[in-house]
């Protein structure tokens, strides 16, 4: 379970998170929505310990992420797969080596037979052919890079998958492919997923619950249906950007 209680974070004079309360239950897929620059990625990075909050607590499986010692943090991170917005693939390594780095168990990492099998399986799960393994990131399309990033994130059999804008910069067809992938991985691997996105339609298709972050706070959490029926002004305004006049949709 992921829990954020009263999380505050500022960068210089800019307050990004101003008392965020956010919970993700085991097995859920939650989409974190919000306008660009509202702090969605910042919030996600707190969960994996890349950023430390100024106030409040971030708990993963009951562990306070900000206060974990180095080895304990490493252990926690081995249970979390993080998919970066632009893939964050290592340019000097081919796809096989990139995905192999996602195998967080050291004994498995050193076993090349296991690595070959695991990488092949992970590439198959994201619908990439095996000849992709020898290519370098510069030779891949945007959609393929995202899928290799997902493949790397699942290589270590994580319990949680965190997606940072997985469909940003993609055409609608590839965006749909990624959305379906997020959904199928959640079902097939039984992982808990948090997807940061500003793509409302995709979020509604994929997520069990949605949360809207704006003004540094979560203003609404609920099922897609509850979201569409919400009377919270910020939610209405956000949805109308995607769906137009919501009275028509109702």
């Amino acid at each position: 379970m992921i829990e954020l209680h009263g999380v505050r974070k500022r960068f210089g004079q800019q307050v990004v998170l101003d008392g965020v309360d956010f919970t993700v239950q085991d097995g859920e897929t939650v989409a974190l929505l919000g306008p660009s620059g509202c702090g969605k990625s910042v919030l996600l990075k707190h969960v994996v310990g890349l950023i430390r909050q100024d106030a409040g607590t971030v708990l993963v499986d009951g562990k306070d992420v900000a206060h974990l010692k180095r080895d304990a943090l490493r252990q926690l991170r081995s249970t979390i797969g993080y998919v970066f917005q632009n893939g964050a693939l290592f340019d000097s390594m081919n796809v096989f080596e990139n995905v192999r780095l996602g195998i967080t168990n050291e004994d498995q990492f050193r076993d090349m037979t296991y690595c070959r099998e695991r990488v092949a399986r992970c590439l198959k799960l994201v619908n990439l052919t095996q000849d992709t393994a020898q290519k370098y990131p510069a030779q891949l399309s945007g959609g393929m890079r995202k899928r290799v990033g997902i493949s790397r994130a699942i290589a270590g059999t994580p319990k949680y998958l965190l997606y940072d804008e997985p469909t940003s910069g993609l055409d609608p067809v590839n965006a749909d492919i990624i959305d379906e992938l997020v959904k199928s991985l959640a079902a097939e691997l039984g992982v808990t997923s948090v997807m940061v996105t500003h793509d409302v339609r995709g979020a509604m298709r994929v997520a069990d619950r949605l949360a809207l972050l704006t003004g540094g706070r979560i203003v609404q959490q609920g099922t897609p249906k509850e979201f569409m029926e919400s009377t919270v002004p910020e939610v209405r305004e956000f949805l109308e950007r995607d769906f137009g006049n919501l009275n028509f949709a109702a």
């Binding site: 990075k45 994996v48 890349l50 490493r74 252990q75 991170r77 081995s78 979390i80 993080y82 970066f84 917005q85 632009n86 964050a88 693939l89 290592f90 340019d91 780095l101 996602g102 967080t104 790397r152 270590g156």
Partner: protein
């Protein structure tokens, strides 16, 4: 009584500069600490270090030979210009050898490599920082220090003193050849002059400087790379900052080491 708002108060900008400098010192110290902590993961950094050392050494050799060759030659030509009839010609050998070994060899090697590998390391790591590759390493439970910094630092520590020795030898040889074009210096005169004022410690001094400059260049450039912000513009700033800082620190270290070690 408080100073009026419009008066020139230099305390604030000085304070800001001092605080910024202290923050840099603190962050560099943290990086050095991470380097020492990462040394335990030798399986990770050793193969990368060997590869990087080969690239650094072989890749830098042509430019080092060129620069050292010119440095020795110009020293010899200027020696010829300054010599009057009253100075024995064998002194030319001393001048050239001591100038190259004590100063030109290590310093020019350091400055050239600050531009060549310092800029490269800062740009590589800076690009990795702004494209979140370093964050990705951390989320995968891998140590950025072991994967990225230690190979670069150790490769520099091993290869830069070796390149310094090669630069010294090249500078001496080119100076030897060049001085005979401007002065009637025989080989015997040159060797006699080279030996008469030579101290065995001079060679060690050159290597010590090479080592010190290696640590400076690699740690500074890795630090600037890791600290990069704000996309492509940030990478440019980091690269420039790394080279400038490395060059300034090389000259500072040059002065400090001369004061401490040459007695």
């Amino acid at each position: 009584m408080t100073a009026p708002a419009t008066s020139l108060d230099i305390r604030r900008p000085i304070g800001r500069v001092v605080m910024k400098a202290l923050a840099h010192v603190g962050r560099v110290s943290l990086l050095v600490f991470e380097i020492f902590r990462g040394l335990a993961e030798w399986r990770v950094w050793l193969p990368r270090t060997i590869e990087e050392a080969a690239n650094l050494g072989l890749g830098s050799l042509p430019i080092i030979l060129l620069v050292a060759g010119f440095a020795g030659a110009v020293t010899a030509l200027q020696t010829g210009y300054q010599f009057t009839g009253n100075i024995p010609f064998y002194v030319a050998g001393s001048l050239i050898v001591e100038s190259v070994v004590l100063e030109l060899g290590p310093v020019l090697t350091g400055l050239i490599l600050a531009g060549r590998i310092g800029a490269r390391y800062a740009a590589e790591l800076g690009t990795m920082r702004v494209t979140e590759q370093i964050d990705a390493l951390e989320t995968l439970g891998r140590s950025p220090a072991s994967h990225l910094v230690i190979p670069r630092v150790l490769a520099g520590i091993v290869m830069i003193p070796i390149l310094t020795i090669i630069a010294d030898i090249t500078g001496i040889i080119s100076g030897w050849v060049a001085v005979q074009q401007v002065l009637p210096v025989t080989n015997h005169d040159f060797m006699y002059g080279a030996r008469i004022f030579w101290h065995p410690f001079d060679a060690w001094y050159s290597v010590i400087k090479g080592f010190a400059f290696a640590v400076c260049i690699t740690v500074v450039s890795c630090y600037f790379g890791f600290s990069t912000e704000q996309g492509a513009e940030g990478v440019g700033k980091s690269t420039t900052g790394a080279v400038v800082a490395s060059c300034v620190l090389i000259l500072l270290l040059d002065t400090v080491l001369a004061k401490l070690l040459l007695k």
